[in-house]
């Protein structure tokens, strides 16, 4: 096998290869690191590549392999981790000047899980500052690009993670999703991106954007990898009070299906008339057709409140929580700090220069809606709407096991296209946001390629802790459309 072939293998294929002695961990890691070094000049998918750390860990793992030790489920698998997830001893920037030089003294729960499973973290992924954005253009470290078309954005905020997996840096990556930050870039980069049910994956070590919406989830190029990494990172964790103690199923088992007999797939009533790209509409109907042919019953569902009020509801709650979560970046204990004559000036200057424009915009919105005289009219009202959205989804899931919706209204847009109009940019999350508000799991996957050679994604939404149902339906779809492809240098436009 040529070394460059490693880059196209899935995580589970790599583990298999190590076990069979086909190649070593350092072979794979070395290849990945070289590939990264060459491609980063264009892609800028990583804020901090971890060349040295990954190399020395690969030697350690090879030694363990030689000793015949029992291997973890992600043994020797290169992983890219979004830069809002802490890794002990590594800087975690959140894509912000504010944390440009902050080295975390502890690892996130998911990182501990990955390391216990034998994974090798090869880099920290680029992202929109503090996960606020849909294009990774709001990164303080420069925009990441879409590996399928360098003139386009990879989506955001986990754009670096999605681009890394699409570009073959690693078969899997971690992102975080508050309003679509995993699913939208997964759709734009043509890979799988799963936002688990709120409370399935511990948020300990995830730098909070909006605590009641944030959830860590995986990117991968195959569903088997999605299941494998979800199994690893969903280990219960008492350090996150919102993390459920429920027993986790064996996710891989949901993939052994060929039929959807007795399974109900819902689709959004009237999606054909929505303002979305025609190729996406076609992808939806094709996907529904695949499910139907596999024996699923197709039902129509209505989500009028979610579609109409999801965005304003989200853009009240998320900034409110963000304004609170980001208050700690005050230039006192750690992070960006400006020398000032007094305390107030220290706060004003540090926060004024440390945060970028989108973050400031949302802090302002959040501070406004939480004001004691406005709380009832904005925050409380939004919470009521949120309850209605939850109810609406509950009703939909009394009719269907999974819902198929667009992941995004458009195909990957051009760089700079939506920078000037925030509301237009916020619309990119129209279909993903209600899912976070309702705390549901959803997977974004590539359903086809557009005529212009861009990935076209769809979204599969499940009921609470219904990751299994999603995997089941996705598995049937994957059998038809095939797993996600890599956009290595040569495949690129």
């Amino acid at each position: 096998m040529k070394n460059s072939e490693f880059l196209k293998l899935s995580a589970l294929e790599l583990v298999e290869g190590y076990k069979k002695g086909d190649f070593t961990v350092s072979d794979v890691i070395e290849t990945a690191l070289e590939h990264i070094e060459v491609n980063e000049r264009n892609l800028n998918a990583l804020i901090t590549p971890l060349y040295e750390e990954a190399r020395s860990r690969s030697w350690m793992l090879d030694a363990a392999l030689a000793r015949g030790e029992e291997l973890g489920s992600l043994f020797g698998v290169p992983v890219v981790v979004k830069d809002n997830i802490t890794v002990d001893g590594v800087r975690t920037t959140c894509g912000s000047r504010m944390l440009e030089n902050w080295i975390s003294p502890y690892s996130a729960h998911v990182v501990e899980c990955l390391e216990r499973a034998g994974a090798v973290i090869i880099g920290k992924a680029n992202m929109d500052e503090f996960a606020m954005g849909s294009s990774t253009e709001f990164s303080a470290f420069g925009p990441a690009l879409n590996p399928w078309d360098l003139s386009r954005v990879p989506g955001g905020s986990s754009g670096g993670s999605a681009a890394s997996v699409a570009a073959g840096y690693a078969p899997i990556a971690l992102g975080s999703d508050t309003g679509g930050s995993i699913r939208q870039p997964a759709a734009f980069c043509g890979v799988y991106g799963l936002k688990p049910t709120y409370g399935l994956v511990s948020r300990f070590g995830l730098i909070a954007f909006a605590s009641s919406l944030d959830q860590i989830g995986p990117f991968a190029r195959s569903l088997k990898d999605v299941a494998a990494i979800l199994q690893v990172i969903s280990e219960p964790d008492a350090r996150d009070a919102t993390c459920t103690r429920k027993e986790r199923p064996n996710y891989a088992e949901f993939l052994n299906v060929t039929s959807l007999e007795g399974f109900k797939v819902g689709y959004l009533a009237g999606y054909e008339s929505l303002e979305i790209d025609d190729e996406i509409k076609r992808a939806i109907s094709q996907t529904i057709e695949i499910c139907k042919e596999a024996g699923a019953e197709i039902v129509e569902v209505d989500l009028p409140i979610s579609t109409r009020y999801g965005l304003p509801c989200y853009y009240t709650i998320a900034p409110a929580e963000a304004s609170s979560n980001l208050a700690r970046f005050d230039g006192v204990q750690y992070g960006f700090s400006v020398v000032a004559d007094d305390l107030k000036e220290l706060y004003l200057k540090s926060r004024g220069s440390g945060f970028g424009p989108e973050v400031k915009r949302r802090i302002l919105i959040g501070t406004f809606v939480l004001g004691s005289s406005r709380y009832d009219a904005y925050y409380l009202q939004a919470q009521k709407v949120r309850q209605l959205i939850i109810r609406e989804f509950n009703a939909a899931f009394s009719k269907a096991d999974v819902l198929i919706t667009p992941a995004t209204p458009t195909l990957p847009f051009k760089r700079g296209e939506k920078l000037t109009d925030p509301v237009k940019a916020y619309m990119a999350d129209l279909f993903t946001i209600p899912v976070n508000l309702a705390g549901l799991p959803a997977l974004s996957m590539r359903a086809s390629m557009s005529q212009s050679g861009l990935p076209v994604g769809v979204q599969l939404i499940g009921k609470k802790f219904g990751e299994g149902d999603i995997l089941k339906a996705a598995s049937v779809i994957e059998q038809v459309v095939g797993p996600a492809a890599t956009a290595l240098g040569g495949d690129r436009k």
Partner: protein, 485 residues
């Protein structure tokens, strides 16, 4: 002009004596520790860290709420209270807002023999902040070149108790805090130490004419002892009266008590309330304290100070004063019960505890359980005193010896060279005769009827007791003296 009366409400912060902090597993035992040695990502508010509620802190607070007859809310929520200050690492404090752990209780204080109920408005839990150390003379913020922050205290559980404005005098305020402190100590939920800041009191005080309107209230802070609290409120009461008498208006503000000058000093105007932007902490699901737990905790409550006091009065026939001294501390009250159970007569036990034993406990700053004399030996000593086998003087020496050398009663008596046999009959008579002969003048005065109060007989009795090294029965000595005179 009619007399103004003070209207006082208190806001008390009590540090709970849990082993770990409110939302992380760091130790709370930070007094005297190196700065920033009792910290972790959570209490430092590092990015990505999350809080988890310390269940013991909830238990302690519920215990306190039940003891004050509060209604415990089974469903409570933690809120974030936002403000920027360097000692607050997250720039918000996790506290409680409109759904506190408990509401509507009361605590009774004794005001000049009359019981006075002070209503408790609410009790809630929150986290403490860190501590700023200012590099200027006297550790003051003003004029400091720089300040240092110690986060050891950050995240220590605080129970906030707010009273209704039911307190009608500075003395009553002091009495209330003293009762509350006694209660937290009885319940074992805090050491209640004001000097070290485990118990902090802020007071709201206004004045009003009887039947009149409430005046503008002033918040007084920085009272580090019960005495300071009383003095500060007295000062503030007088100050407000003076402002009124000059026809000026009282400004709503926060004032700091300065113990050295004995004055309150205006620190900031409260005309505009700060907007803390409270909202439910999304990191913490609503806390459910189920009825069963509450009932269980209620059952497990120890006998409360006033209950013990009343029982001592009714069962032991003690006076209110005696009972109050004996029940001030739970360990002491338990010792009292223990000694009586082991056969010590109530009076002797009460006297000894209130004098000798309390003195030793205070001197050594130990609890009654830490006393090196086992209770059964203590009871034995007291019953010998009661039976007249040891005089009080001799018993005190024996007590001291038992403490010093960890001896039992008999060995201590031996070590002191006191024979265990009782000096009586003709041996005692001989000593009495000798003492009377040596003090013929006194004897004459008694015979002349100049000892109406019996003091002179007591004097002679004392000499005889000393001669016998306390081994005679004082009553026998007294009757021998009387018969000889």
């Amino acid at each position: 002009m009619s007399e103004f009366i003070p209207v006082i409400g208190l806001e008390i912060h009590v540090q709970l004596s849990t082993k770990s902090k409110m939302f992380c597993s760091c130790s709370t035992d930070y007094i005297g520790a190196r700065p920033n040695s009792h910290v972790c990502p959570i209490c430092l508010g590092l990015p990505g860290s999350l809080p988890v509620i310390n269940e013991r802190a909830i238990m302690y607070a519920v215990r306190m709420a039940l003891a004050m007859r509060c209604k415990v809310n089974t469903h409570t929520v933690f809120h974030r209270k936002h403000y920027f200050y360097p000692d607050l690492p997250k720039a918000y404090q996790i506290s409680q807002y409109d759904l506190p752990l408990a509401v509507d209780g009361h605590l009774e204080v004794n005001d000049d023999g009359k019981a006075h109920k002070i209503r408790i408005q609410r009790l809630h839990l929150e986290e403490d902040a860190g501590k700023l150390v200012h590099a200027a003379i006297g550790g003051r913020l003003m004029g400091a070149d720089y300040s240092l922050v110690d986060y050891n205290r950050s995240g220590v559980p605080l129970m906030e108790i707010v009273t209704q404005p039911d307190i009608t005098s500075p003395k009553q305020a002091r009495e209330f805090v003293s009762r509350l402190r006694q209660l937290v100590r009885y319940l074992g939920v805090s050491d209640g130490d004001m000097e070290s800041g485990s118990l902090r009191v802020d007071a709201n005080i206004s004045i009003m004419e009887p039947g009149g309107k409430w005046g503008e209230k002033v918040e007084v802070k920085n009272m580090n002892s019960l005495k300071a609290l009383e003095r500060a409120l007295e000062y503030e009461y007088e100050r407000q009266k003076e402002v009124k008498s000059k026809g000026e208006t009282i400004v709503r503000e926060t004032r700091h008590w300065d113990d050295d000058s004995g004055k309150t000093i205006s620190s900031r105007s409260k005309e505009e309330a700060e907007d803390y932007r409270y909202f439910p902490d999304p990191d913490l699901p609503p806390l459910v304290v189920d009825e069963r737990t509450i009932v269980q905790l209620c059952k497990e409550l120890p006998e409360l100070p006033w209950e013990v006091r009343d029982r001592f009065i009714s069962d032991y026939g003690l006076s209110l004063e005696e009972a109050e001294v004996l029940t001030e501390r739970r360990d002491v009250a338990l010792l009292m019960d223990d000694l009586v159970k082991r056969g010590s007569p109530v009076k002797v036990a009460s006297n000894w505890i209130r004098t000798e034993i309390m003195r030793v406990l205070n001197e050594r700053a130990i609890s009654a359980e830490e006393l090196t004399i086992p209770p059964d030996e203590m009871a034995l000593l007291l019953s010998r005193v009661d039976r007249g086998e040891l005089s009080t003087t001799a018993a005190k020496e024996v007590f001291a010896m038992m403490l010093e050398k960890s001896l039992n009663v008999d060995d201590a008596i031996k070590a002191l060279g006191l024979s265990t046999g009782k000096l009586t009959g003709s041996d005692l008579e001989a000593i009495v005769v000798k003492v009377l002969a040596e003090n013929a003048e006194v004897v004459e005065e008694i015979r002349a009827g100049k000892d109406k109060k019996g003091k002179k007989v007591k004097f002679l009795q004392g000499i005889v007791m000393r001669e016998t090294k306390g081994q005679a029965d004082p009553k026998e000595v007294q009757s021998l003296i009387m018969s000889k005179i």
